[in-house]
């Protein structure tokens, strides 16, 4: 099981704060990026773009959104910060394997 990585959280929070013009202090591990921060889909794609570039991964965000839209997953599984960070860590681990 991949554990929450504080350093990754800080980097992702900085990316979100920068791209979406959100106060960094408003972003915590329990923050829902959509429900709490109001990040729209276009901004989230830009966030994805920068996270992919920063970590050398490809986050399957469209697939996640499809799972949520089809009722196969709760949005919180992907878009609450601590879960997002964990998924980024999983993707990094997969790439390194």
């Amino acid at each position: 099981m991949t554990e929450f990585n504080q350093e990754t959280f800080e980097l992702v929070a900085e990316i979100i704060s920068d791209i979406c013009s959100i106060n960094r202090a408003d972003i915590t591990p329990d923050t829902h990026t959509v429900d709490d921060l109001g990040i729209d889909s276009l901004d989230f794609l830009d966030v994805t773009f920068d996270i992919d570039k920063r970590f050398g991964i490809k986050m399957p965000v469209e697939q996640w959104m499809e799972e949520v839209n089809q009722g196969n997953a709760d949005a919180a599984e992907f878009f609450v910060m601590k879960n997002l960070v964990t998924r980024i860590e999983e993707l990094r681990a997969e790439k390194a394997a």
């Binding site: 276009l42 794609l45 994805t48 773009f49 986050m59 399957p60 965000v61 469209e62």
Partner: protein, 158 residues
Amino acid sequence: MYLEYFQMVDRVVALDSAAETIQCIARVPDTSTIFEGHFPGYPLMPGTLLVETVAQVGGFLLMSLGGYSRLPILTQIAKAKVRRAVSPGTELQVDAKVIQVSSGIAAVEGRLNADGKPIVTCEIRYHMMAFPQDNLRAMVLSRARDIGVPVPDGESAT
């Protein structure tokens, strides 16, 4: 180049799928209603349309590499510089290279030259959306084929 129909690219000179690059030619027309206003008595190609030309070249590159499964919609222009004025009748060389493809989003860096001199440099970011209509995809394929962008075998362009 057919400004009134936003057909900015005349032909593809080369497309390298492995390197993810494209080179195109676009000739600014001698006359256009656009030049009547930009500017009266002193016609110049608008810089925004030069950037649009780069965006279309990058869009064709992304569509070709992706098998025309997605339609690139411009979402961001970054680091854009328009260095020189361009007059009617100028032949432009337009290059683009993919710099990143992510989930639902892609970016290219582009360069537009004339007579070997740089005119425009920029980075263009696109939302890669599903084609909203089959006939739009068919029109895009037809246009791609007309200007020499590789189209997969068996794809209907009508």
